[in-house]
């Protein structure tokens, strides 16, 4: 375990858990098959993990302070933590060898799992649930994979067979999910890249508009929601915003350095291009407003062999410069942690040292804070993938200097 007294111990634990991995004991896995925890058998983003495990793998881990930790269960970690279940207390425990680190919990099973739509589609193939976030996948293939132009660190949709998700199935799943009181604070829509259409991504844009428009009919006014999609032209972004009730948009740059972006994200480079991606991300601020446009990096992929930076200082410099540039322009730039995956082009290779992630987490948090930006749509509760936004939980004081949504009412 690392120790840095200036950072939340829960954020440090989260980073350690993602870095080292977590394996589940049989006892824990058995308890997680019970109806209160048992997750879906399908994974709407086609991320294949732990194929050797016969039992249903659980949702993400929640630490005692509700920090969210996503683990690729079942990967062959070299020095993992263990998650065990203590039948005496009825609690799950995180262990480091024989030493109890802390009590942990898992995201509870959402009530729509196990149900089917009117067309007979299992709802768990359409949506995924976190503690407070409903994640919808509109297109379960990434067409970049077709010509080997997928992002090199990506393993999403490597195993899925279907592509387009039936839009009525999505609508019905959302309706069903919202019957569970207080379970969701945000609806998030994404999918694999689909560049088809009269102009690149036209079909994808229309699909996202149709889906969000139908979901919007359920709500009075705008509702906490996010579209994670490529960087579209400003007129398309405007159309998405005006024709639906969504509140935030997230075109993820993923690799901050231009040369590395071009190498590691060939599909994104070919269909949009690095400079255009950035320009369109800034343009989106004119539509959604400051602090409502997000982007993120897949932190660590910029250090992966064979193309990556040679030193973590160079990688940090590049990422901090990018984060600051986005912040200056009202865009919230976050980090998410790269976990090497056997189905990704980069394959399995060592992650950068934990210290890199700690410095990155602190740096991103400090930069955004200095610009008065708060990631309310991507915080510990609504997302949980970003250790740097987890740190914002002590930053309530942006009340006076916050550039975005002061007193925003959703």
């Amino acid at each position: 375990m690392v120790n840095d007294l200036s950072v939340s111990p829960f954020v440090l634990l989260k980073l350690s858990m993602i870095w080292h991995g977590v394996v589940l004991t049989e006892r824990a896995l058995d308890r997680l098959q019970a109806p209160d925890y048992c997750f879906g058998k399908w994974e709407p983003f086609g991320l294949t993990n732990g194929s050797h495990v016969k039992k249903v793998l659980p949702g993400a881990i929640l630490l005692r302070d509700a920090t969210f930790v996503h683990i690729n269960y079942g990967e062959p970690f070299t020095d993992p933590f263990t998650a065990d279940f203590d039948p005496e207390t009825g609690c799950f425990l995180l262990m480091e060898k024989d030493h109890v680190i802390d009590e942990i919990d898992f995201v509870p099973r959402p009530s729509f799992y196990g149900k089917v739509t009117s067309k007979g589609t299992p709802m768990e193939t359409v949506a995924l649930a976190r503690a407070q976030k409903l994640i919808l996948s509109a297109f379960q293939k990434c067409l970049f994979w077709k010509n080997g132009e997928q992002c090199h660190y990506c393993a999403f949709f490597s195993q899925t067979k279907t592509a387009e998700v039936d839009e009525e199935d999505i609508f019905e799943t959302v309706q069903e999910a919202l019957k569970e009181p207080g379970r969701y604070s945000q609806i998030y829509l994404s999918g694999g890249s689909d560049f088809r259409g009269d102009y690149p991504f036209e079909e994808e844009i229309q699909r996202y508009i149709r889906i969000f428009r139908s979901i919007s009919t359920l709500f009075q006014g705008r509702f906490h929601s996010q579209l994670m999609a490529p960087a579209y032209k400003k007129e398309d972004v405007k159309k998405i915003y005006e024709e639906t009730g969504i509140t935030s948009y997230c075109p993820n740059i993923e690799i901050m350095d231009k040369t590395l972006f071009q190498r590691l994200c060939p599909g994104k480079e070919k269909w949009i291009g690095y400079d255009t991606w950035i320009r369109r991300t800034l343009d989106a601020v004119d539509v959604f407003g400051e602090g409502n446009v997000y982007t993120q990096i897949v932190a660590g992929a910029e250090l992966a062999r064979p193309y990556g930076f040679q030193s973590i200082d160079d990688a940090l410099r590049s990422n901090f410069k990018g984060c600051e540039f986005f912040a200056k322009n009202g865009v919230i730039c976050l980090s998410t942690i790269w976990r090497p995956h056997r189905y990704a082009k980069l394959g399995f290779q060592p992650m950068p040292p934990l210290d890199y992630y700690i410095r990155l987490t602190k740096g991103f948090h400090e930069i955004r804070k200095s610009y008065g930006l708060v990631a309310v749509d991507d915080n510990y509760k609504l997302c949980g993938n970003h250790p740097d936004s987890d740190l914002e939980r002590l930053d309530f004081s942006c009340k006076t200097d916050c550039r975005q949504k002061t007193c925003r009412k959703l």
Partner: protein, 169 residues
């Protein structure tokens, strides 16, 4: 795991005070900040739950500080001239699951439009009786639960178009 307070049975008198609508509850943090809190109860005669209305608030920050850095707080229950207090271990933040739902539904039963951002589980130590004046300074300057908040948080099922919920049948 650091030494923490265990979830022990609450004294009967304290349970009664928690149920008494006329009693006032206060949370005092190591910073000296004191808040008058409303939605506080015990779901199982052991643990105490508090439904926080707004995450982005001074109270939200105090709770996070207490759980992150293991800073003990104090819970005061004031009924007339009587005051009981205990040290509090801010043990867990629930944003989903049975305890969160129990807390939320309890609030919505009283006020159908009600909501909470998160439910905080406290473990208490030995309860002590004191004169109300012993905490006069803290309670006199107690802040409201939503002090400094800048974002109203509402769950999506509270944003639905009309009241034919569950989701328009």
């Amino acid at each position: 795991m650091q030494n923490r307070l265990q979830a022990e049975n609450l004294p009967e008198a304290i349970e009664k005070l928690l149920q008494n609508q006329e009693c006032l509850s206060y949370l005092v943090f190591v910073s000296g900040d004191c808040f008058q809190v409303r939605e506080i109860y015990s779901p199982d005669s052991k643990r105490i739950l508090y439904g926080l209305q707004r995450e982005y608030s001074r109270l939200g920050r105090s709770l996070v500080d207490a759980i992150w850095f293991h800073h003990p707080a104090k819970l005061l229950l004031v009924c007339g001239q009587e005051l009981f207090w205990s040290e509090v271990d801010v043990y867990k933040c629930h944003i989903a699951g049975p305890l969160f739902t129990d807390n939320l539904l309890r609030i919505r039963k009283k006020n159908p439009g009600g909501d909470i951002a998160s439910s905080w589980e406290f473990r208490t130590g030995e309860w002590k009786k004191a004169n109300r004046t012993s905490f006069q300074k803290e309670t006199a300057n107690a802040m409201s639960e939503t002090e400094g908040s800048f974002l109203e948080e509402v769950h999506l099922d509270r944003k639905l178009r009309d009241t034919t919920h569950p989701v328009f049948r």
